[in-house]
Every structure is written in structure tokens, then in C-alpha cells.
């Protein structure tokens, strides 16, 4: 096993993990504020088609990403109005948002099938980004670095700033936060919009970075994995990074094992690996739950101060 081989494998892992990390980071903030938005998959697809369409028309991938974030945030506001202002059930509304996003992206994308868009150029000089060794650090799409920067910023804000403390307070005890004068609804709106924007960017990673094209349902269920990842990570930003890369590493390992013809484990075992992992992690979390849950206390509960 040469160095080049290992580096190529790492590049694959990072590539496949990044969109999940982006979407999960957004959902982490949403859930920290006490709201469960299950519509990540739908918002990602809206971001994917918007990013693609804008890049296709403007030839500028940066504009595409910004538009994807805006579209994701906009569609998340539909969810926001329903669950925050109208007090509808968060689980049902989130699922509806997922379905809406799938349908809407298909509708918008009908005219964009079979087209391709220009890709991001590297932000580092070619000497570094194409160097056989240094590409392991400098050889990625700019979106990879942006994703990492965002997750570190989110982790820092949540744990070390006043804004993060307020957000957590709203998620842990909405009535107390309300009684000392914080706008629970307003803060939750902002959190949902941030989650939507992150999901939108994550979606655009599929249509602009991994494969620069649009195809219906091209995120192929990654939004659901991002949701699960937030739970696995125990609502902690640091563990989210590890979890996302671990997921990418497992999937890449599966592909290498299959291509190398390792017959000691049947293909069905590898295919069921994510689910086995899910059960193991959930078991660990449930065990820890006995000593106190890590989930935000108000997660999924509507805020109705006057009822």
C-alpha cells in the first residue's frame, strides 16, 4: 500500500462526507434550539437544483452556492411558519417538507436534465492542489474548507458565546428563556433558516461538486443520514465532524472491500453496515441516557407560552 493509494482513498472519504457534514451542522443548530426539522432531504434537493440552475445561467459557481443557501432557507421558512407560528406537529410538517422538496426540485429541474455546469476552481495554487502528497490537504473543492470552517464556527458559537448560550437555553427550557425576555419564536426562526441554508449548500455540493449535473433525487437519501448523524453525535459539534468522516470512511471501505474481492464478507453484509452501525450507536446512546439525556429538553415540543 503506497502513500499515493492512501491519499486517494482519503480524498474519496472527504468528498463523500462533506455534504453530510454540512447538512448535519445545520440540523444541529435547529435541534439545539428545540426544533426537529425532518425535511433535510427536501431542502437539500431544493438547494441542489437552485445551485445548479443559477450556476448554469450565470456561469458562476459562487453565485450558485449563495442562491442554494437562500433557497434552502426560504423553503425552510414554510416549515417555520407552520410549526412556530401555527403550532403544527413538527414531525409531520418536517416529513411534508421533505416530500415537498423532492417534488418541487423535480418540477424546477425538468428543464435542466442533461446539462452540465462549470466547476469551482481550486483556491490554492496548482503546485499545492495537484501535488501528489499535498493534495491530501489542498486538493479539494473550496466547499470542503467552507464546510469545515462553518462547523468549527458553529461549535465555537454554541459552546463559548452568549448567542450560543441563548440558543441552547431556548432549546433546553423555552419557558425560562421566554420569561427572562428572549424571543423563543424569533430565535427558532433564525435557527431554522440557518438549517435550511446549510441543507441548501449541502445539496448544491451534489449538483455542483461531486457530479456537475442535475438529476432527480440525486442526493439519494443523504438528508436522512445527516439527521441520524446529529443523534449519533449526541448533539455535539466535535463528534459531528468525526461521525461524518467515519460514515464516509465506512462507505469507502465497503467499496474497496468489494473491488478487491474480499469474499470473507458477503455484499449484503456491507450493504447492511450503516444500519448495524445505527443500532450499535443507538444502543450506546440509550445506555448513556440512563444517566441523563444529551438531547435538548424541548426538542420537538411546540412553544405555547399562553396555553
Amino acid at each position: 500500500m503506497t502513500m499515493d493509494f492512501i491519499i486517494s482513498a482519503i480524498v474519496t472519504v472527504v468528498g463523500i462526507s462533506t455534504p453530510i457534514l454540512l447538512a448535519a451542522t445545520g440540523e444541529l443548530v435547529v435541534e439545539k434550539s428545540g426544533v426537529l426539522n425532518l425535511g433535510v432531504e427536501g431542502m437539500m434537493l431544493i438547494g441542489a437544483i437552485t445551485g445548479f440552475a443559477v450556476t448554469f445561467t450565470t456561469f458562476n459557481p459562487w453565485l450558485g452556492v449563495i442562491a442554494a443557501a437562500a433557497a434552502g432557507a426560504a423553503v425552510s421558512m414554510v416549515f417555520g411558519v407552520l410549526v412556530l407560528s401555527l403550532g403544527s406537529n413538527q414531525v409531520a410538517t418536517g416529513l411534508a417538507l421533505a416530500i415537498l422538496g423532492i417534488g418541487l426540485s423535480t418540477l424546477i429541474g425538468a428543464g435542466f436534465t442533461g446539462m452540465i455546469v462549470p466547476q469551482f476552481s481550486s483556491i490554492f495554487p496548482s503546485v499545492l492542489s495537484h501535488d501528489p502528497f499535498w493534495r491530501v490537504i489542498f486538493g479539494y473543492s473550496p466547499m470542503v474548507y467552507i464546510a469545515l470552517a462553518i462547523i468549527f464556527a458553529v461549535g465555537w458559537v454554541l459552546n463559548y458565546t452568549r448567542a450560543g448560550l441563548v440558543l441552547r437555553a431556548v432549546g433546553e427550557n423555552d419557558l425560562s428563556a421566554h420569561s427572562i425576555g428572549y424571543s423563543v419564536i424569533g430565535i427558532r426562526y433564525m435557527a431554522i433558516a440557518f438549517g435550511g441554508a446549510m441543507a441548501g449548500i449541502a445539496g448544491s455540493y451534489f449538483s455542483m461538486v461531486i457530479t456537475p449535473m442535475w438529476a432527480e433525487r440525486m442526493t439519494a437519501g443523504r438528508g436522512w443520514i445527516a439527521l441520524a448523524l446529529v443523534v449519533f453525535a449526541g448533539w455535539k459539534a466535535g463528534r459531528l465532524v468525526i461521525g461524518a468522516y467515519l460514515f464516509g470512511a465506512l462507505m469507502t471501505l465497503e467499496l474497496y472491500a468489494k473491488a478487491s474481492g474480499f469474499q470473507f464478507l458477503p455484499s449484503q453484509f456491507w450493504a447492511s453496515m450503516p444500519y448495524i452501525m445505527a443500532i450499535v450507536v443507538l444502543a450506546v446512546i440509550s445506555y448513556r441516557d440512563r444517566t441523563g439525556s444529551e438531547a435538548p429538553a424541548c426538542l420537538g415540543k411546540p412553544f405555547l407560552p399562553n396555553s
Binding site: G15, P212, A220, A259
Partner: protein, 359 residues
């Protein structure tokens, strides 16, 4: 005096709605209405797109004698039944259901409409008014295998599959056998991604195969992801189902195109002249169901000549990639020397030939 209960009300209302629509569509008495149930959207640039191209071809060729309607995004579950039933009820005399997952639903609806003729794509259940049809895509795979076997420099070719189903296994085997015929030491590394459509996983699998030394990577999944990764990595690949050179102008060597038009035309003609019978059709190069896209200019002349020769061989019947001796992965002989595998054996094939690694 009829009671206006809910059921009657619905009947009356739908009849009122349907009447003008039917009047508008009443062409001559000999106008044939053909209906299609599609798996995906017509713009999927793959499976459904190819079927719709076939439908348009049929309509164009027959001028005013035929009307072709379709329903897209039909799920492969019980919800396909009302869709097919609606097509039959709204006066379509010939109905094509274009995915494997509509098999039982087609048979079920066909029982209630003995005067409507049905055609199910890729299935194996037939009835007096239900035919089946498919294409010999593996014939095209033999052309790709020949090209890949001649052009690979590393001697290792990547193959991205979806599931271990006969259609995919057939393709892998045809590809490998034809590549070995021109390059005896060639190895084919196979990865099944357990999905027909997952661009991110297809891309990751392509990167994996490239890292394992494959310099040509072909795929049997529905997106152009493999080609796009090949383009970025300056490797070669092939289009699947349609000419995908637009997605990867340099990497795209050629593609297998699914051409359904001639079949749809022949079946519509059979309806018009009253000769329609329940059959099982499996067309290939000879009948024009499988077509190879224009070659990439980067392909050397002798490779193009060899590829042309395989195509010509399929057409005149002088070539069949599944001619023995053929051994499976363990080396055991599956087909004896000089014997050609029967269609029935091919249709249920579940073993890979020697030289296929992985899966």
C-alpha cells in the same frame, strides 16, 4: 329513477368530464391509441427517456394513424394498477408497461381487458393479450469490452454495477469475455453499489476503482457520474443507455443506446393490420434495438475497426460472445467448447466468468 348515491355521482361526473375529452380525441375509426406507463420522468436522460424516444418514433412513422399517450413516474407497486387500468379504460388498445416492476400489475389488469393488448418490458409473465419484450444489451457490452481490452494500459478495467441481477451479470460477463478475447491477461474489477441511482456513491466507487489501478471504467447504473469522474481523472469510460458525450467529451469513448422505436412501430403496425399475437421478443443489434454511439476521436483506428467487426458479427450472426469454453470465477467449466449459451440460460444467469474480481 336512479338513486344518486356517492358511487353513481362519481360515475356521472367522470362521464361528463370524459365525454368532451373523448369526443376531441375521436379520430377516424381506425386510429390506434397506444398508451405507455413510464418508470421515471421523460427527462431522466436514461431508461424512460429512451422509451419516450421510441414512442415519438412510432407516432412520427405512422402519421395520423396512431396516438401515443404516456404516464410518467409510475411507481413499481400496487399504485401502478390504477394507472394501467386508466390507460385501458380511456380507449388505449395497445399498452406498453416499461419496467420490470409492473409485471404482476400488467397481468392483473390484462385479465379484465381481454380486448386490449399489453406489452411488458423485461418481464417473463405472458398471457393471450400480454407480450414481453427486452433488448440484448449484452451485445453492446461485448463491443465496449473489445474497445476496453484493446485500450487499457494497466490491464485492469473497472466495472460499476448496480445489483446482482441477470441483466447486470450478463453485461459483466459479455464485457469481460470480449475484453479477454483481445487481451488475455485483462482483469475486470467489479463493484456493486446496491443502487440503480446514487450519483455520490457512483462517483466514490469510480474513484475507488481508479485508485485500484483501473484506467477504463464502465458502469451499469443510471447516472453519468462515472463518466464525469473519469473526465476529471483523465480516464476513459462509456455512456449507458444514451450518448453521454456531452457530460464527458474526452472520457466518453462510446455508449450503448437503447432504441425501442422500431419495436414499438412493428407492434403498432401489427395492431393496425390485425396480426398482433402474444410473443416474447428479445432484439439486439440485428433488429436495431441496440446501437453503438459514434466513437470518440481519440480511439485508434484499429480499435474502431475491431469494434465495428463485433457489431457486424452480431448483425450477421457470425459472432456470439457467449460461445464456450466459458469458466466461472472458480475456474469450473460452465459452457463447453463450441457450445453457445441458450437464451433461457442467459436470462437466469447468476455466476461471473473467470477474470472478474470482486462483487
Amino acid at each position: 329513477m336512479t338513486l344518486m348515491n356517492r358511487r353513481n355521482f362519481i360515475k356521472t361526473v367522470s362521464a361528463t368530464i370524459a365525454l368532451p375529452a373523448m369526443a376531441a380525441k375521436s379520430f377516424g375509426a381506425d386510429t390506434l391509441k397506444v398508451g405507455f406507463a413510464y418508470l421515471g420522468p421523460v427527462g431522466d436522460f436514461g431508461w424512460t427517456w429512451a422509451h419516450d424516444k421510441g414512442r415519438k418514433f412510432m407516432v412520427d412513422q405512422l402519421g395520423g394513424k396512431v396516438v401515443g399517450d404516456y404516464v410518467e413516474n409510475v411507481a413499481e407497486d400496487a399504485s401502478a394498477v390504477p394507472v394501467i387500468r386508466d390507460l385501458a379504460q380511456s380507449g388505449h388498445n395497445l399498452i406498453f408497461t416499461t419496467s420490470f416492476g409492473y409485471m404482476d400489475q400488467t397481468i392483473q389488469v390484462a385479465k379484465d381487458f381481454p380486448k386490449v393488448m399489453f406489452e411488458h418490458c423485461t418481464g417473463f409473465k405472458r398471457a393471450d393479450n400480454v407480450s414481453t419484450y427486452n433488448s440484448r444489451f449484452h451485445e453492446g457490452r461485448a463491443v465496449l469490452g473489445t474497445i476496453a481490452g484493446m485500450m487499457t494500459k494497466t490491464g485492469t478495467i473497472g466495472y460499476l454495477g448496480s445489483f446482482k441481477v441477470p441483466e447486470v451479470v450478463m453485461g459483466v460477463n459479455a464485457f469481460t469475455l470480449s475484453a479477454q478475447a483481445v487481451n488475455p491477461n485483462v482483469k475486470v474489477k467489479l463493484v456493486m453499489i446496491d443502487s440503480w441511482f446514487d450519483p455520490a456513491k457512483e462517483a466514490a466507487a469510480t474513484e475507488t476503482l481508479a485508485n485500484l489501478g483501473c484506467d477504463i471504467i464502465t458502469s451499469h447504473t443510471d447516472s453519468p457520474a462515472t463518466l464525469q469522474v473519469c473526465e476529471q481523472k483523465k480516464l476513459y469510460g462509456f455512456g449507458q443507455g444514451a450518448d453521454m458525450s456531452k457530460f464527458a467529451p474526452n472520457a466518453h469513448l462510446t455508449a450503448i443506446e437503447d432504441i425501442w422505436g422500431p419495436y414499438y412501430l412493428s407492434r403498432a403496425n401489427a395492431m393496425l393490420d390485425g396480426s398482433w399475437k402474444s410473443t416474447d421478443t428479445w432484439w439486439g443489434f440485428k433488429e436495431g434495438s441496440v446501437v453503438i454511439s459514434p466513437y470518440n476521436a481519440a480511439m485508434p483506428k484499429e480499435v474502431a475497426a475491431a469494434a465495428d467487426k463485433i457489431q457486424a458479427g452480431w448483425k450477421d450472426g457470425s459472432y456470439n460472445v457467449f460461445t464456450g469454453p466459458i469458466a466461472d470465477q472458480s475456474g469450473a467449466e460452465k459452457v463447453a467448447k463450441g457450445v453457445v449459451m441458450a437464451d433461457g440460460d442467459l436470462a437466469g444467469i447468476d455466476w461471473f466468468v473467470k477474470g472478474v474480481e470482486g462483487a
